[in-house]
Each structure stands twice: as structure tokens, then as C-alpha cells.
Subunit: 174 residues, 2 copies
Amino acid sequence: MIFWKNFFHNSSINNSSDKTFKKLLLLDKNCNRIEFQDIYVSSTNNVNLYELEQLCDSVGWVKRPLKKVKIALKNSSIIVSLVQKNDSHKRLVGFARATSDSGFNATIWDVVIHPDFQGIGLGKVVIHQLIKQLRQADISTITLFAEPDVISFYKKLGFIKDPDGVKGMFWYPR
Amino acid sequence: MIFWKNFFHNSSINNSSDKTFKKLLLLDKNCNRIEFQDIYVSSTNNVNLYELEQLCDSVGWVKRPLKKVKIALKNSSIIVSLVQKNDSHKRLVGFARATSDSGFNATIWDVVIHPDFQGIGLGKVVIHQLIKQLRQADISTITLFAEPDVISFYKKLGFIKDPDGVKGMFWYPR
């Protein structure tokens, strides 16, 4: 199993002409660098909608109107993208975003990692990156709604399920 | 027990010089009008921070820095206030707000009704008003985090707890 140690490999940032991307340093259990992935993290809101749609398709999500996706991204407080890029190509391989009041609370939505890149700790990277930025903005309550199969994943990252009996509740149009 | 039938009593709007307020029509079980409350609903973001602090104090909430409250209100998509007003005074008696990406999801925060005005359906009014406005904005997933003592209240309003095993999770600073 592979895991990440640090989010950024600062020494390689300058290799990229696009300063919005920071290269991830991925390490295996023996702390050997896994360079071949060429994966960068970015927090720009300027996400290509078609690339995002392709990423969401890859994990079988229901299609959403791009016009609404554009609005949702515009009104998200923080967006984190993971991009595999080299001289010949650039590919969105991970994504997550959060809405927030920028004062107290935030809610994380749309956490997705391309199946080809799952199992190497990239889910942790996007969540840690979101938490880091929300904490920099002094947000104290970071929330999300977790499907049953990812509850243990979020627990490992420090999220608490139903603290003090508080329940997540949903209202849907009828 | 008293309950509300309609959100607005349109015929009485013109009695108010401030068009941002709409008078509530409160009815008892026999559909008798309860006029004495003089309660109006408003969706302006221009909420007096000290009045809001006073309202939150009345239900024993932990004090929050007004500077951060101001930022949180500014970054909330929808704010609903209930105000008791007549010729001689104006008093904030209810409040709720929602963050949203304005595309798909919203989360409701800070639902509070002054103890003197609880039990007459005003909690339902603020939630229905939020839902109404979020639906007008075509938001399909309206969420909240409910303390154990208000879960049944939200269930009656159509909210579903842990649908399909989805769990609300919280991350707090350590």
C-alpha cells in the first residue's frame, strides 16, 4: 500500500510554468518517492467543467447540467483539484470542494478520485488540503455527509459521526 | 396549540412603511387570526448584529465574535428573520440562515426562536421560508445538522435522518 507523507514537494514547483499547481510528494511505506505519478494539487476555482464531468463519469455519478455545476463552483468557498500533468498531457484525477460562511461553518461536497488513482492516498490529500485552507480561514466546524462505504475513511481523518447525537438530515423536493 | 396557515398576510404588507417586512398571518386551530403578535418575516441580509446577539443569548447560545458573525451573514445565501414590530418598537424574535453553492446543495444553520415566542409555529415558518427560497433557486438537496431534541421537529417538516445510511460527520480543531 502506498501513502503520502507531505502534500507538497516544494522544490519541484518551479518546474511547472503554471504557479497554481504544486507537485505532490508521494511516498511508499519505505519512504521511497513515487515520482511517476506527476500529480499536482491546485486550489484554483478555474476548473474545466468538461474535465470535471469526465472525472465524475469515471466513478459513475449521475450527470449534472454543466451550467449548474459552473454556478456551484463559483459559489464554493474552496476547491481542491488534483491534476496529473507532464509535458504532453494534463488530466484531472481528483477533486473536492466546500461551501462555507467564511466565519464558522463549512460543508464538504463532491469528493472524487479517478478509479485509476484510488488507493494511493489522494482522497486524504484533498480532504487534508480542504481542512488546511478552512483552518487558515479560521473555520471551526467542518462538516460533510458520508455514504456508508466512506464513513471509516473519514473517521481515520478525524471526522466524528453524529457527535453528541447530532444528526445529519436531508430535505428533498417531492 | 397555535399553528400557522399562511406565511404572509399580503393585505397587511402595505401597513408597513418598510417593504422588506411581510406580516405573518398566525391562526389558531379554529382558524381564528392571532393578530396581537404583530410578527413579520423578512429575508434581508441587513440584520442588526446586536439584536441577533441578544436573540442568541436568550436561548443560551455561546457568545460569538460579532466580527465573525458579520462575515458569516455576508456569506450566507439566504437569511430569514422574524421581527415583532409596531409603531413603538421593533424586536428580532426569530432567525435562520443557509449556506449554499446556489446550484445543488444548501445547509441550514443557526435556527433560533426567542423563548417568549416558541410554541406558536414560528420555527416552522422560518424553515418553510428557507425551503421556499432555496427551491426557488432550484436547490435540490437541503441539509442541516439537528440536535437530538429537534430531530422530531425537522422530521415533521419533511427532513429525513441519515437517508440511505448517509451520516453527518464533523471535524473540529484539536
